[in-house]
């Protein structure tokens, strides 16, 4: 298949049909075994579906890694109000491009996962909140939903099971904060995209004031496979605490960047050197951000010790996040790289909480000054202390995400900051 790069180290469950445009057609999807998991799930009680997912140990792929089955079990068992399943397809973390591919190439896999999830949490309506800039994914999804309605997989009395589930694809308007689950609910309701205070948690008071569960695209895409083959089957990959496979979005200075589906616990260094064909131009590895821009970056030494699962990343002082591996070689100007990430957060802060509203821009201003050779050594202390004041003091974790790259880069690449401050020397030309 023509999908950019594939590797024989991959275990392709979710990404089997990447690069195959035929998979978008409902006939092909059904012929290849699609929607059989839905049929199986609809024949089971909602709680039994939750049990299967619990037994698989599947953890949320949006970044936090919370066990999906446990999350589903928080929903009220008795349906007194409407329930909603919200699919978080607002993939906007810098460095992440897995959900986009899942939606582009295999939209019915997601729809099937959504329908099973909706059944499991007794939801009668699924909203797929798709990032506004994903024009193609939005179109493909909308078409797929239409087809699935026509074939009776969505709507009233699905497959004669007596269950009614509606699916709506909602195109966002382009705000990072709407990928935060409560910000997404606000946006869906037509309000300003701002996070809500928890408690109440979405399982109690969610979208439109009703119990809701929010799951990531990749999480829901794994559901049909788990329901079809069972929880134990899924556990054959990955580790005890992080079972299954995960899509890794590799970008940066590697020869073959791209999406790779690998079992969790895969060594980071093998991902770079084997799966991705090694470092570009033979340059030395300098730093890696293993989970998207919101997690601390690690240096080459830590990268060599890092196992790509939820626990393995914590062991080297970072997080798996949404597994967006950004690889940086020796030519990278770390200060500039960090400043560009902070600029992103300053631009995307919703402005609700003061530490984030003021702190993100302030951090970016200081970094820019350092980058321009006008920094002082005191600035580094200010950055460390001030970003720490942005951790845990806000409603959502956007401002915590600024602290991660800033603090980790100052700790690990202090020399680079000092070179700029003392002599105006820049590294590389990135």
């Amino acid at each position: 298949m023509a999908y950019p790069y594939v590797s024989d180290r991959e275990v392709r469950l979710l990404s089997t049909y990447f690069g195959d445009p035929k998979q978008r057609h409902i006939e092909t999807y059904v012929k290849r075994g699609g929607y059989s998991a839905l049929e199986k799930a609809l024949g089971m009680g909602p709680d039994d579906v939750v049990e299967i997912v619990k037994s698989s140990g599947l953890r949320g792929r949006g970044g936090a890694g919370f066990p999906t089955g446990v999350k589903w079990s928080f929903m009220p068992k008795e349906k007194k109000k409407a329930h909603y399943l919200l699919c978080n397809a607002d993939e906007s973390e810098p460095g992440t491009f897995k959900d986009r591919e899942l939606m582009r190439w295999d939209p019915h896999q997601l729809i099937e996962g959504c329908l099973i999830g909706a059944h499991a949490i007794r939801a009668q309506h699924v909203y797929i909140y798709c990032r506004g800039e994903f024009f193609e994914a939005n179109q493909v999804l909308a078409r797929a939903v239409e087809d699935a309605y026509a074939k009776g997989y969505i709507g009233e009395n699905i497959l004669d099971s007596g269950h009614d589930i509606e699916v709506t694809v909602h195109q966002g308007a382009g705000a990072y904060i709407c990928g935060e689950e409560t910000g997404m609910m606000n946006s869906l309701e037509g309000r300003r995209g701002e996070p809500r205070i928890k408690p109440p948690f979405p399982a109690a008071v969610g979208a439109f004031g009703k119990p809701s569960t929010i799951n990531n695209v990749e999480t829901l895409c794994a559901i049909p496979h788990i329901v079809k083959n069972g929880g134990e089957w899924y556990r054959q990959w990955g580790t005890e605490k992080s079972p299954g496979t995960k899509l890794f979005c590799v970008s940066g200075h590697v020869i073959k960047p791209g999406n790779y589906e690998l079992p969790l616990g895969f060594p980071l260094i093998e991902l770079i050197e084997d799966v991705c064909g090694g470092m570009k131009d033979g340059n030395a590895l300098k730093a890696v951000i293993p989970g998207g821009s919101s997690v601390p970056l690690i240096n080459a030494e830590e990268a060599r010790a890092c196992k790509l699962d939820y626990e393995g990343c914590v062991d080297v002082g970072t997080m798996l996040g949404c597994a967006s591996v950004i690889v940086m070689d020796e030519t990278t100007d770390i200060v500039k790289q960090v400043r560009r990430m902070v600029d992103f957060y300053a631009h995307e802060s919703c402005g609700l909480c003061t530490p984030c509203r003021e702190g993100t821009t302030w951090t970016a201003q200081i970094l820019r000054r350092i980058e321009n050779g006008k920094g002082t050594e005191d600035d580094l202390d200010t950055l460390m202390e001030m970003t720490q004041n942005m951790v845990g003091t806000t409603i959502c974790v956007l401002s915590d995400s600024v602290a991660a790259p800033v603090q980790s880069s100052i700790e690990k690449f202090r020399d680079e900051y000092l070179a700029l401050i003392r002599r105006g020397e820049r590294v590389g030309a990135a």
Binding site: G193, I197, L352, T354, P355, W362, G392, T393
Partner: protein
């Protein structure tokens, strides 16, 4: 169900569902905050009210965290004060620090909090973001650079006035409060409140702009006279002039709010055309100023056998004044007393606090007048209705009504015409005695509001010249004519009223206090 918790080492018992911030208030601990306001929803976004709760992984916003049994809260611990110090530093990153020219200086909570708990010096060396000034329409100017983005103003307009005129535009530190198109706040009736609830100098009153510094103002508790709602207010005075009116919290009457109509209607109090000394007319058009002893002596002399009494009273006069007038009319042999009061066609209800409205009746004490048996006269614009009175040939007493619509010969036929007024008026031309009285802002007294709540007000201004409260003047006359004691204080005058009018019986100034107390009779205003 009461919940017991510990705040700063002190045990507190409060009802279930109370927030930590409100619970702390009960032991006198004010947790600094901006976005929280008891009259509106809490977005918990200013992050200033974070407190340490034992067992919680991170500092909790006390404005939305409800109390739990056995909870241990620290509002002054190292963690809590460090968190406030940190947040305050963020507030100052883009704040212009233009306190010397800011109207809010002296009553600004950013100023206060930073003085109390902020850093000694700021660390930001970056250029500040600039928004400049914006006219929001109505009485409101917006200084965007001073704004702390608490969104109280946005929430007041959408939740309390329920006329969404303000919103937050853009995001991050570019976010700013703005109006919709050119419409702004024009045509709204409660927008003055957003200036009150703005914790900093971002929203300022055009009327008050650069008029006085906050620390030069004296605050006197009073009652708004612009309608019969009786909103509790403070008179803010300087140089013996009222500079502005501000609402005073009273959940039974006006919450934290007052209407723009009442707020803007204060300049009449400052008018300089005051009657400053008692005048006696000699019958040839001449008049002379005399002292109180002389004027009252002469008046009593003339009153003897002058005939039936007709009186006109203003519903802006206090209960004490009206009670003393009623007593005088009776002492002079009885007669009828009328009042005239302007009425609007519609009430203007504050939707988010529906017990508060700009009432139809546009005088402070119409209910008091009705309870004392005064008859309403004239049209809804407070004119006419005095045909009987104008040509009356007995004793004529006018209290407070300026009689602007009355003919030049008003009271010409009266055997005795006594005019008690605060401001000069042409209708007093024929009065044999013109007696200078104080306005409500210069005397102590009570008004009875539309719901029958008797509410006290206090003097915030010095009375000009020899002006005295009407209850004192009228009370002195009554004391001469009857066995009654001379009232020496407003409380005495109220006690006399309470013993004479059943609706007020049993009430005392102590009972009424600063919150008011209800009269004994159900209230029904004529015309309602």
């Amino acid at each position: 169900m009461p919940v017991t918790l510990t705040i700063d080492g002190q045990e507190v018992t409060v009802p279930k569902g109370t927030t930590i911030l409100e619970a702390a208030k009960t032991i006198g601990q004010q947790v600094p905050h901006y976005c929280y306001h008891p009259g509106m929803s809490s977005p918990a976004m200013c992050r200033l009210c974070l407190v340490e709760v034992e067992g919680a992984p991170k500092p909790m916003p006390s404005c939305v965290t409800t109390v739990m049994d056995g909870q241990v809260v620290h509002t002054q611990s190292e963690e809590a004060t460090a968190s406030r110090k940190a947040v305050l530093e963020f507030y100052l990153v883009n704040h212009p620090l233009d306190c010397p020219i800011c109207d809010m200086s002296g009553e600004c909570s950013l100023q206060d909090y930073v003085h109390e708990e902020g850093r000694d010096s700021g660390r930001s060396r970056e250029p500040k973001r600039v928004f400049g000034r914006d006219d929001f329409g109505g009485d409101v100017l917006f200084y965007g650079d001073r704004c702390v983005m608490c969104t109280r103003c946005v929430r007041f307009m959408s939740e309390v006035e329920q006329d969404t005129r303000l919103t937050v535009v853009d995001r991050g530190n570019r976010s700013v409060i703005d109006t919709f198109f050119e419409e702004g706040l024009d045509g709204t009736n409660w927008h003055g409140n957003i200036v009150d609830i703005c914790p900093v100098g971002a929203l300022v009153s055009k009327d008050f702009l650069h008029k006085a510094r906050a620390w030069d103002l004296e605050h006197t508790p009073s009652i708004c006279t612009s309608c019969s709602q009786g909103c509790n207010i403070d008179l803010h005075t300087r140089d013996n002039l009222v500079q502005r009116l501000k609402p005073r919290e009273n959940l039974d009457v006006n919450g934290w709010w007052m209407c723009d109509h009442g707020r803007e209607n204060y300049e009449w109090i400052n008018q300089g055309t005051r009657i400053e000394a008692p005048l006696v007319r000699d019958g040839n058009g001449g008049s002379k100023a005399v002292d109180w002893k002389e004027v009252l002596g002469a008046l009593l002399e003339q009153a003897n056998g002058a005939g039936a009494v007709k009186a006109v009273a203003s519903p802006l006069a206090s209960n004490e004044d009206l009670g003393a007038l009623k007593a005088l009319v009776e002492a002079l042999g009885g007669g009828e007393t009328v009042y005239r009061s302007a009425r609007a066609e519609e009430e203007i209800v504050l939707k988010g606090f529906p017990s508060l409205a700009r009432r139809k009746d546009l005088s402070a004490n119409t209910t008091g007048a009705e309870l004392m048996g005064l008859e309403r006269a004239g049209a809804d614009d407070a004119t006419g209705g005095l045909a009987d009175v104008a040509g009356h040939d007995g004793v004529l007493v006018v209290l407070g009504d300026a009689l602007e619509d009355q003919p030049a010969d008003f009271g010409k036929n009266a055997a005795l015409y006594v005019f008690l007024g605060s401001h000069e008026s042409e209708a007093s031309a024929n009065a044999s005695f013109v007696l200078p009285v104080t306005t409500f802002a210069e005397q102590e007294g009570t008004f009875t509001n539309v719901a029958g709540r008797v509410q006290r007000f206090w003097p915030g201004l010095q009375a000009p010249g020899m002006a005295r409260p009407p209850w004192l003047i009228l009370g002195a006359l009554v004391a001469e004519l009857t066995e009654a004691d001379l009232p020496r204080t407003a409380a005495d005058a109220f006690a006399a009223l309470a013993s004479a009018v059943p609706a007020f019986s049993g009430l005392t100034y102590d009972d009424i206090g600063t919150r008011g107390a209800l009269v004994n009779e159900p209230v029904q205003l004529s015309g309602d």
